[in-house]
Symmetry: C2
Subunit: 312 residues, 2 copies
Amino acid sequence: MNIVGVDLGGTYVKIGLVNSTTGVITKKTQIETKLELGNDNVVNRIAEAIQKLTENETYSAVGIGSPGSIDKENGIVRFSPNFPDWHNFPLGPKLSKLLNKKVYVENDANSFVLGEKWFGAGKGKNHIVALTLGTGVGGGIISQNILITGTDGIGGELGHVIIKPHGRLCGCGNYGCLEAYASATAIVKMALERRKKFPDSMIFESNEITAKTIFDAAKQNDRLALIIRDEVVNALAIAITGFIHIFNPQVIIIGGGVSRAGDILFKPLVQQVNEMVMPSFKNSFEILQSPLVENAGILGAASIVLQREKKI
Amino acid sequence: MNIVGVDLGGTYVKIGLVNSTTGVITKKTQIETKLELGNDNVVNRIAEAIQKLTENETYSAVGIGSPGSIDKENGIVRFSPNFPDWHNFPLGPKLSKLLNKKVYVENDANSFVLGEKWFGAGKGKNHIVALTLGTGVGGGIISQNILITGTDGIGGELGHVIIKPHGRLCGCGNYGCLEAYASATAIVKMALERRKKFPDSMIFESNEITAKTIFDAAKQNDRLALIIRDEVVNALAIAITGFIHIFNPQVIIIGGGVSRAGDILFKPLVQQVNEMVMPSFKNSFEILQSPLVENAGILGAASIVLQREKKI
């Protein structure tokens, strides 16, 4: 069976035709989102792109991972902070009418954890906590094979648990959220703030400082980079220990750009979490790097269909 | 329909006959647990007490809230820290055989949230976070009408989220857990530690210092008592803000001895949580004191039956 997965972003819409058995993306395309043309225009162009992509192909349904708060029953985008005119916008029904196919809509952080469950590091598992460390820190939770989104569907904000009272200022207005320590944005900030104190750090040899610059420097034993790495690890360990005690998950999966740091991040993280969890939780979980990389968005979107229809 | 609820504690076993429609406990009894006599002996005496209580009465099933890790499918107590010989002990099947009735077993913190859902402040709600502030801090979560217990059934340990790195030492061995700030035990400790600095606090006029002593002193504007109250509120606010962002619950219910402090605890707590939650979560939740008081154990145990059979 083929499914179409649509990863709706602020700049690009990525669309893929996914074999639901193998998780292979057999065809892929992307269009610019061009939010400024208005929501109807965006939906029309998504429909055209899907029609073009699926010429001479069959597919059963479409899954869309969208930012913002989603009324999943009705496929409506309630509001989406960076999509100004998408207010109570019937994304699912509109696209469904244009394509004459079933369309399922889900929040993009939630579709990330679904992608991991159906095609990634959470395959076959029913208790998964997923974190995406990117511009922000996104979260998705599957417990007892159910996506945990809460009464208004806005739960799963794992980036906004407070891991340090009076800690770093977060974009949400609170101090000490996980996101203020473990997002790519925060990691870069932590370096820039200390430039005066560590002027010779190799981090500052780079023209464009990213989270990757910093983890690469940590691999070279750069002192500032290691200090930042330790802060990131410590913040993640505190939060993840809490998630383990709350959810007793089989696996904690970490994706997003920051996760590509690999061992320099994961090795000390796994060690610290193992030291912190209560005895009865020892050896009850794994902490894994997301294997889906740049396909996470499309595979996550396709997984929305599988989760809703639970056919496999 | 009548149900028997059994609240299995280390010192006493409380047993009640509960009208499942009204939540009224029509008959009640208690026996000493006497763990030292061995697990079979305890079960035999529980069966006898139930038989005596239900003479000339009908009831459909028994729910038992037990401390420890429970294999709920099979009614087995896997282990229970304070019940040394209850290791893989088939509590449910043994009692079921003696009574010739269905018996359901659940962890006692989980049965607390079930009691709130069926008979308390969470009535009719499907998204509930419950905390019991007693000797320790227990937690129970219902999300999408499902009890969240994780892959081994040991999740829901809401007392062991870390709210302050390098904070107060917790009984679990970590520093800064919620339990190290908001349990009755911790609250009393916080007073005793500061006796030298606040020798004139009215807290120390009492022969036996309990959490109640301290909150009563706070109501009289005792300085030390107010400092402690603020620490408790702050710890709870940080943790609860996180739970709201994670679970997007309709209600957070707080029970256990400490919750009886009432307004002196709840008013500043509600205010602080409202200040801390992200804008999209504003007005999405209530924070309520458990109304079940000393019947919480029996009603929680009876609710296990209702939740498993979901008949009402």
